[in-house]
Symmetry: C2
Subunit: 389 residues, 2 copies
């Protein structure tokens, strides 16, 4: 009744998961050891150290939550927010919206700072909001908005937030390992990420990091954290010296994370970022050469996730289906306000390579031509190639 597992061989160029590196897949087939085995404790330590390197932070509390990226988002809010706390959230895409929902479920009084889907949140917006709302506990922004492809600058806003005495929280799900997150240089107080984007690891864990200021806020809580599973006071003890049993860590995912982080560190952070920038620009230039319009304006574009407008008279679902069925290429459709209006093309981690840029541009060119969209044949590829040299 249930056949052998035999999924098709895809190229994952959507908004995540991205292709998992073969070394990571191999690590996942390693037999298990116990989660309290001295050798596993060593792996947990190594993961903390590797995560510190990739987050670029000295934060002691830097670890991986046992859930996907969204569990990391919830971890930050359940631990930092108490009922009645005032919280400012930048909403210019789906993941900002999600933060609002999560924060409200923690009893936060949320002030939304909104931006069009595809625009950044401007520092002045945050400044004005904080001036008009005294006593804000934290300000949260999405660094790499996966629903739009926008890269949110952090440092200037971090300074404003801190001048007002609030904590600065950042969603780095799609940025970590692809572009610089720079927790310490950007003065980020709490941050969460995911494994299935630029780390080339399957979904299932959520790296998080908290600085001393954020931990101090937690220590001063008057109420218990509403989630047992995500209560950082207990999780810290599990990952810390005491190794106090909390839950059973996902061993195989920890193996995978270690390998994915090792790959980033071995390549070197600078080289990794450069690869993402270069190939992201190649893809974007290629798409424009094909006559398509990028949704985000220059300077605010992520290299690892590009949103491109679907031309008139071209059917979203038909093109994506052809890419998937004829070429085994997965890209993403639009979400929320951008549903049916853009495609989202990822070049993350192991998926971010020259070959994928060329394969995707060639395939898209053929499919769009077939549907009557006029394309100057070969121009996209030639243009992209110029950027890759």
């Amino acid at each position: 009744m249930f056949k052998e597992l035999n999924p098709p061989s895809r190229i994952l160029m959507g908004p995540g998961p991205s292709d998992v590196h073969p070394r990571v897949l191999k690590a996942m087939s390693t037999p298990l050891i116990g989660h309290l085995d001295p050798h596993f404790l060593e792996i947990m330590n190594e993961n903390m150290e590797l995560l510190r390197q990739v987050f670029e932070t000295k934060n002691e509390v830097t670890l991986a939550m046992s859930g996907t990226g969204s569990s990391g988002m919830e971890t930050v809010f359940v631990n930092l927010v108490e009922p009645g706390d005032k919280v400012v959230i930048g909403v210019n895409g789906l993941f900002g919206q999600r933060m609002v929902d999560v924060a409200e479920r923690c009893g936060a009084e949320v002030v939304q700072v909104t931006g069009e889907w595809g625009h950044i949140i401007e520092p002045e917006q945050i400044e004005n909001t904080l001036q008009n709302n005294p006593g804000v506990k934290l300000v949260a922004l999405v660094h790499a908005e996966t629903s739009t492809g926008v890269l949110q600058p952090l440092k200037e806003i971090a300074d404003i937030v801190h001048q007002h005495g609030a904590l600065f929280v950042v969603d780095a799900v799609t940025s970590l390992g692809g572009i610089q997150v720079g927790i310490d240089t950007n003065d980020v107080d709490a941050c969460y990420s995911g494994t299935q984007k630029c780390l080339s690891v399957p979904p299932g864990l959520s790296p998080v990091t908290f600085n001393e200021k954020a931990l101090e806020v937690m220590r001063k809580r008057k109420t218990k954290v509403q989630s047992w599973y995500l209560d950082l006071s207990m999780i810290q003890n599990y990952w810390g010296e005491d190794r106090f049993y909390h839950h059973t860590a996902p061993i195989s995912m920890a193996y995978a994370l270690r390998e994915g982080l090792k790959l980033v560190v071995e390549e070197g952070l600078e080289t990794t970022y450069e690869r993402h920038w270069k190939l992201g620009q190649a893809l974007q230039a290629g798409l424009e050469a094909m006559g398509l319009t990028l949704h985000v304006r220059e300077g605010h574009r992520l290299p690892q996730l590009t949103s491109v407008r679907i031309p008139e008279n071209i059917e979203d679902a038909v093109v994506r289906k052809q890419l998937l069925e004829q070429f085994n290429i997965e890209i993403g459709g639009g979400l929320g306000a951008l549903k049916g209006k853009v495609w989202r093309v990822g070049l993350m981690g192991y998926s971010c390579n020259r070959r994928n840029v060329l394969i995707f541009l060639s395939a898209l060119e053929q499919i769009l031509s077939e549907h009557g969209f006029e394309v100057e044949k070969g121009k996209a590829i030639a243009t992209a190639y110029e950027y890759m040299k």
Copy 2:
């Protein structure tokens, strides 16, 4: 700086994780497809169907939460409980205690029904408690208490609970796939489990099942579920026909779960249960033949997890360390009230085989003799062997 991943080759006979089946390890090294790929949706459907078979239920809402067993526990409570609800929880071990903590964080008014660590919760205790506390919304028990090795009978209590109009919730983390959980025949309304025990799958997912009565209670909620990540109304839509995006499912863990469940179904539920019963009894008889005392009385013992008292003048940690370092065998120590008093020996899923029973009894016999505990050499093995034939 970070070496190649090379953990020691352990035999996992603790309270979990158990050894992962080689077919499951192989499945985990399968390249990923997207979480909204039609082929992945098929895998999600297959996992739901396979879980229904192993839970022995027709419940439509039978799926795997994207976290470990404890996230399943939290899923049940955040979705079924609203602030002020009266909840009865059986506490005769660590996991009952954990349920109390989780339920209280949901705002429940918890009435504890306590039992000694190593005893079951008696039906009369539940009956009396429900008579003295009108308006209880749910009663929760641990089916297989991993901290004590107690097997809690379910059916009689289910009837009592339902006569009082409450929901019956069961923790089946350590029972699913090892002994019969029988959701429908035991009239369990909501249940959660884990993958790292008798399913021979790494930790990382939590199978849950809810019947129509439990879903009706959720639909009638007056307040929003406090956890976004575990909100079943949204997760149902993600797993259901609509495939409405919620979070990114842990693809590789879904592959692993499918393979682990397939193994159970291929072996046949009855055969699987028989294997656990037979080898559990063999191990227990062997331990008694060695002159050791089992902590739980006959009739209330789990086959897949045995708690055995540590003899006087024998040092807990020393013996476990020797087992681990000299024989690569992991067993568990005691938790909470039983810390330093018992060892916990697991025979779960793929770890539950003849070879492991013999290896463990032989190794333990040698180590205990060395520490001056008088053992009639060979008797444990011979006794266990009688049960295995």
